[in-house]
Symmetry: C2
Subunit: 335 residues, 2 copies
């Protein structure tokens, strides 16, 4: 592995000059530059980014914290962030908090020690995570949730709930229910938006199947709960909004096992518009979070804070309802 010193020796200049050439410093005679570049090629020189980081005080690495990796909603955001970061010349260290404050704290300590330039995170808890993030000496951008004191990129879950309620009313549903947690931070918001919009239109939320979010891929619990619930009092709604796409999938499976079909007997809508919404049959109507945009924007905002010391700011992006088969009458082609 050739070092700058090696180049310098061959080219008969000092290390500093080599450094200047490589960083395109203007004050180098064309001739010297050429000589140096010749040896850079000849020796197949590659910079040592570790040394560069130590001396230069920046690593060009960002840390990315998510509560889980393999749920399509998150993996799509991860993909968008990695993509934009790479484009901007940054590498991404991916970290899975698994929704543990303890692990989140450890991860942040590690990233601090690695001297990452900045952090993008889905915080475990907007309140309890605060101290750990405040200890950071580098900028951080929160995504998909709000956290006071930091730049945040997210959609209004309240508005999302409203939009979906509006869609349900437009389709003409009157008996409407909700499946999912009603008190978690973001879930509570979408639930409230949904409920309030219905109420404002004098439609009562008939039914709430209160089940936990299908975290950590342990989704089948949701299916079980929905089944138990629906097996009891029977179908009391024409349409349900689910807390997220996985919950919607599980609900569909549950109703299906009970002999109901979607959307003929009952309509289901999801939230997030992840890959799942597009791939299941029937295709899922869902509130779309602009995942790609969230990722891109988060990187952009972070870099602004890094380079131009921009002030923390809130970025509320637009969501919209993507109507697919799961909330409309589906007419199969004749065989």
């Amino acid at each position: 592995m050739a070092s700058m010193q090696d180049i310098a020796d061959r080219a008969g200049v000092s290390r500093v000059t080599v450094s200047r050439v490589l960083s395109n410093h203007p004050s180098v005679k064309a001739e010297t530059r050429k000589k140096v570049l010749y040896w850079v090629k000849a020796l197949d020189y590659e910079p040592n980014l570790i040394a560069q980081s130590l001396a230069g005080n920046r690593t060009n690495i960002i840390g990315l914290l998510v509560p889980e990796i393999a749920y399509p909603f998150f993996s799509e955001i991860i993909e968008a962030i990695e993509n934009q970061a790479f484009y901007e010349g940054y590498s991404t260290i991916i970290c899975n908090t698994r929704r543990s404050l303890e692990k989140e704290k450890n991860i942040l300590a590690e990233l601090r020690q690695r001297k990452v330039d900045g952090i993008i995170a889905v915080p475990v808890s907007p309140e309890k995570s605060l101290p750990a993030f405040q200890r950071l000496q580098v900028p951080a951008v929160m995504i998909t949730k709000r956290m006071e004191g930091f730049s945040c990129v997210y959609i209004s879950h309240y508005a999302g709930g409203q939009q979906m309620a509006k869609h349900f009313l437009n389709v003409g549903f009157q008996k409407i229910g909700y499946i999912g947690p009603t008190r978690d931070t973001t879930s509570a918001l979408k639930y409230a938006g949904f409920q309030n919009f219905l109420a404002a239109n004098r439609v009562e939320l008939v039914d709430v199947i209160d089940c936990p979010a299908p975290e950590n891929m342990n989704a089948s619990l949701v299916c079980k709960l929905v089944k138990e619930y629906a097996a009891g009092p029977g179908l009391r709604c024409e349409a349900y909004l689910a807390n997220d796409d996985i919950t919607a999938c599980e609900a569909i499976a549950a109703f299906r096992e009970l002999g109901y079909s979607v959307p003929q007997d009952i309509a289901i809508a999801g939230f997030d518009n992840s890959l799942l919404a597009k791939e299941i049959s029937p295709k899922l109507t869902a509130l779309a979070q602009p995942l790609e945009e969230i990722g891109r924007k988060a990187v952009e905002v972070l870099l602004n804070q890094l380079n131009d010391h921009a002030e923390p700011q809130m970025y509320e992006l637009e969501s919209r309802v993507i109507v697919r088969e799961s909330t409309i009458q589906f007419v199969p082609a004749s065989k």
Copy 2:
């Protein structure tokens, strides 16, 4: 940010002693150790991993290359790898090759310059990627595919195809088809295994819907092709094996749009057993690649090569058929 020197000054010892204490070197008097540790706490000292890397010649970072991030098959592997790496004290830099040799080359150069300790990768092409990986000066482990000269962790796609053929025959299907690419490296193997096993049991592969793998999330093309195909000659099979879970989803959607239902009119099986297989309705019978195990094993093998200079080796893991609803007669409960 307190440095070792600061600790040393306060404790009245040399930097070296501080270093010794922190790395649990035995030859430090208990008393000095205590004094040092006192100041470590008092000054809230945190090591600078960049400096440590430069001096110590190891970064405790591994690079992970995948063709895409947001396809459940890959994101589940990523999650497993990150998890195991974290457990072993390594950070993971995630990189998306997007199936481009050019980008793969650039990423490898960057990781080399970052002095990552090792690399785990799904190579873009087992042949054409070879030179880029050989330039690496650190160990690399390939996953999900074989690549000569490197440690590899994968399943036999040929055997996987056979296993699925066996399942189809067990269920009693006689008119059997295949949906997916037939000439891509791994696809060709599973196709061959599937076809040969059927042939060995005197069952002919009636139908091959040759469509590209749904790469880069551009899955809908698959649906379109299947629809066009099936709309023409009509249904000629009782059961199809799809190249992967997404293709299976798309096929289900296609048949569904044509008025056929799965599994009543036609059975479909997937390959990979990703999240999709578990969440769609009907739940998908699929050949399970042990994603969690692939990830864990890959890290383990890499670390062995790092630390004990183990020789490259092939690890062929076991796959198995997970039978779900999509290939069995589904009897809905009475309403």
